[in-house]
Symmetry: C2
Subunit: 262 residues, 2 copies
């Protein structure tokens, strides 16, 4: 969802990492406004907000770019437009170029993932970082690539590797986002209940075992321990919450209620 | 670039990893053909070719999807269309669902990166893996998410995290691509020349030092070693190729030629 935009909030992102130093994205000779907008959206998704354009074909501002950005352009500082790549790069110190093809240039090549780590280090070292993306069809020319210190490549299907401009910006900036944002990896997305304690679990499982015993579920006495252990394993694997333990108790009550009424 | 498509080559990708078991992508209730096409393109970029649709709004096939896929749909096995999610999932064993919002469901949550590793393991264990993506605006419903074993989340700017369908598919499948494809990380993109040997480097550097000595560059004798070491450091850092060493020799020849003619 696009957060509401207010007139006084153009450069505020509500998240302190975004106010820290971050790479500048430079689109060189971009053609379609739609692609500039998609690039801006991808950038802001990934926490980047400084966009520069070199010689955009259809000028700037661009209504199609605004529409495709899903509000991102309105939330970012104003886009800076330059006539030449040299001007756009003038204040940059560590320059990365995305390029799909091997070039007759001897430069370090990094994956987008490694490049994001390197950029983080550059920024910690106080450097201003730029990432160059070329025009839609042709990409960056050799002359443009020559301005970069490092080339970025993306591991993709070699039989079908062409990305559009917005997709390229998304993948490169996504790798950056891993250094700024984290996502929870846990079993409890809501926080409304907690994983049951062992005591809660045992209370449930003991009751289940007792009811199964009553129902003569364990027909062969020698097998009982093994079968009980296997059933325990099913419920352990599910790692139920305290609420779910209550639900499981309710299931036992309901099922034994049916039996007890028979 | 889109590789040429031939009639007999529809399921051949020229790359053996693509013939191995891989996750199935399932789009649930997709609306716009453009988004289905963008998803297919992203999948094939990342080496996935099995696409299933549940109840696509505009039916199937879809000319807009074909156009947006940049040829990917023509190179993939035929898309499978199902009326219900249950049918689409029938043969699947390990089911991942992408969802932007925390849900009232207690399920493991993984980042796209961790999920790709987990899927690789599932497949090594012989399981059939599915990745669910919801409809454009609403995403997956709680009922749909309930069919998944694991939820996938993507670390993005919490203030601006909405992705379109094609972008979501791209980021999740991109993480998969890291387990299938590699990209070179090296300083020699072309392979036409090699990093110079230490002997080639010393031959150049000794000549440079000698010429600088002749030119009285090292004015203060006590400083000579430090200055020479600093100059060595510049050229060491550049790690020149054998061809570049020749070029540097040429530069010395040219510059000293000017001097020697004066």
């Amino acid at each position: 969802m696009v957060p509401p935009m207010t007139g006084t909030d153009r450069t505020s992102f509500g998240e302190s990492p975004l106010q820290a130093a971050q790479p500048v994205v430079i689109l060189v000779n971009p053609q379609m406004g739609e692609n500039i907008g998609a690039a801006a959206r991808a950038m802001l998704n990934c926490g980047l907000c400084h966009l520069r354009l070199v010689n955009p074909r259809d000028g700037w501002p661009n209504a199609r770019a605004d529409a495709m950005s899903s509000g991102a352009l309105g939330l970012m500082p104003p886009v800076e437009v330059f006539a030449t790549l040299e001007e756009a790069l003038a204040d940059c110190q560590s320059i990365y170029a995305t390029t799909a093809r091997a070039r007759d240039l001897v430069k370090p090549v990094m994956t987008a993932r490694s490049a994001a780590s390197a950029m983080t280090q550059d920024i910690q070292d106080g450097q201003k970082v730029a990432i160059l993306f070329g025009a839609e069809r042709a990409g960056l020319s050799n002359d443009e690539v020559a301005h970069a210190h490092t080339l970025i490549t993306i591991p993709l299907n070699p039989g079908f590797s062409s990305l559009n401009l917005g997709q390229s910006v998304l993948l490169v900036t996504y790798e950056w986002s891993h250094h700024v944002f984290s996502a929870p990896e846990k079993i409890m997305p809501t926080g409304k209940s907690e994983i049951a304690t062992a005591a809660q679990f045992e209370n449930f499982f003991g009751r289940l075992e007792g009811e199964l015993e009553k129902a003569r579920f364990f027909r062969v006495a020698e097998m009982k321990d093994i079968i009980a252990r296997n059933i325990r394993s099913i419920f352990m694997r599910a790692q139920p919450t305290d609420q779910e333990i209550n639900t499981l108790h309710g299931i036992i009550t309901a099922l034994t209620g049916v039996r007890d009424k028979e």
